[in-house]
Symmetry: C2
Subunit: 333 residues, 2 copies
């Protein structure tokens, strides 16, 4: 019989298709042909030498006359850098000027070197850059919510192969984030504990959905995860905001992020995926009830009418099997 | 400058990319080759003569020795027909047996005749069938929330070409539906009006996002719609539940649903889409604050990391332009 599981962090119910679940191997991506991977593409705006194809850089991490990581405003920014945040409320018609920050973080000069294949030190430089731009965007008085995210592959919403992430500083807190903050706050009020710390402790006790553990972080498949092979990377230490991370923790996160992605890369043959940093907003840094983490979402299935129409997902894999598969996946480094 | 708009029905903010928005024409689907459309496929489980390939029918609408519409349990049901609804709560581990109803409604014997190309009377038969199965699922004491939905095309989550819809009766109310019910209830408590009726009245006054009007229904693009060409078909009369529809209204809905879908079909060259019936749950039928409707979601863009990580959408088209384009789209019937 299928099993419904409740996600205590998001209050979503998910149907785990226990009987008809696919085996992890069935999610391995089949390559259409031998894809040639070029380290340089003369038409790519993110490749070295093509810097003029993007807006001027806002941050460059140098590397012997070249660069390691490069940040520019998004050429097709969703929000405008200039202008004031102005609201207009007339009855049910509520609008705001679309102002904020939208930057692209080019993660490596190499056109086709996925995060999974980089050196730990390069991933550390990427994370340092995230932190720098997170603080930059958070400092903008028009910005309320900062989202760091990566789109890898067409199914994840990008057609640009060159490894890059993005950061958007939006002028409002979304109802999704606000609902999760309130949910966590109520749990704290009722139980006197951070619900995220509790989830992490339960996962560490049960040990059935852990993918990897390091000194400061744990990557695991959630008990009630919505889609196959989705994972969280959660810091062991309680911190509400990403910006509270220490240098030692950032170095450790680089290691676990790269290796967790490498398990996906080698285990499922480089699937398309998104990841995003989920954090409390600036005003709530330091609170006892919220806890930041990285969410990794492989794009192996499609959202259909049931999910859109009900808000409930059907997961066609077993979280425990997904985790066991990824634990066993060989990482060549 | 981009514009942020607030969706008062869902409390979501959406970024309308006013400057870099695509023109409606840019969303027209390009066909890869001349696709041959067969009215019968010998391997299709939904084609006449292949009835043995599905579980036994639960409802058949006869047509001169053949059938017009046929309903069967889903062969790969997400929920189990048998068994009790049992909950288990141990701390943050909350589960339930996956029991409920999951049926497939085969909409026509013709293998490739989209809803857009059917006769109004056939669509009326489909809607009558929805009503029958909605009432059947709602009557199951284990069922709390019933979702009717259709997946059309691969991007919408189906690989089966033969026109069909599905109905799922789930054993819980999702937090998404509950949040929307509470949001509407609060609006009623504060303003003494149904927020959906209000939205409909504003749309009828402004006349800039209407796609089509009939005696009993209006199809329109929402002011703060999340994705290109998404539409609602809303009844003019206040009704919380789909099951409150009258015969005359059902006939009228068949007409506006088919013609609205035909505008998509002819205007955008048969795009993949989902539609779903959004309704109050059984226990809330008759309430003054909620209002059922049909939501049509063409699958023209992909959800990427920003949407997943923030809950905020970027709509790369203008609702007013989308509506004007669809109003003008010719319908050959």
């Amino acid at each position: 019989m299928p099993e419904l599981r409740h996600n205590v962090l998001t209050r979503e119910w998910v149907i785990i298709a226990t009987e008809r679940a696919k085996r992890p191997q069935e999610f391995v991506k089949v390559r259409r042909s031998k894809e040639e991977r070029l380290s340089f593409d003369p038409k790519c705006p993110f490749c070295p030498g093509n810097e003029a194809m993007t807006p001027p850089a806002t941050l460059v991490i140098p590397d012997d006359g070249a660069w390691k990581v490069r940040v520019t405003p998004n050429k097709f920014a969703a929000l405008s850098y200039g202008g004031e945040r102005l609201r207009s409320f007339e009855g049910i018609r509520r609008t705001m000027t679309g102002v904020g920050i939208h930057e692209v973080i080019v993660e490596t000069p190499d056109h086709s070197k996925s995060t999974a294949l980089l050196e730990d030190r390069q991933v550390e430089t990427i994370l340092d850059t995230y932190l720098n731009r997170f603080n930059f965007a958070s400092a903008d008085p028009r910005v309320e919510q900062v989202t760091i995210f990566k789109n890898h592959g067409v199914a994840a919403g990008t057609s640009l192969e060159h490894p890059h992430s993005q950061i958007i500083g939006a002028p409002v807190i979304t109802s999704q984030l606000r609902d999760r903050l309130i949910n966590a706050l109520k749990h704290f009020d009722e139980y006197g504990e951070c619900i995220f710390c509790r989830v992490l402790n339960v996962e560490l006790q049960e040990q059935t959905r852990i993918v990897m553990e390091t000194e400061h972080f744990v990557s695991f498949v959630q008990f009630a995860t919505l889609t196959p092979f989705s994972m969280l990377i959660m810091p062991r230490r309680h911190m509400a905001c990403f910006s509270e991370i220490s240098d030692a923790e950032a170095a450790d996160l680089a290691h676990i992020l790269r290796r967790t992605l490498a398990k996906l890369y080698h285990g499922l043959n480089d699937p398309d995926f998104n990841y995003t940093v989920r954090t409390a907003p600036r005003e709530s840094c330091g609170v006892k009830y919220f806890h930041w983490y990285v969410s990794i979402i492989p794009r192996l299935t499609r959202v259909a009418g049931f999910e859109l129409g009900s808000g409930m997902f059907i997961n066609t894999s077993l979280p425990e099997e997904d985790a066991a598969f990824l634990r066993a996946a060989a990482v060549h480094a």
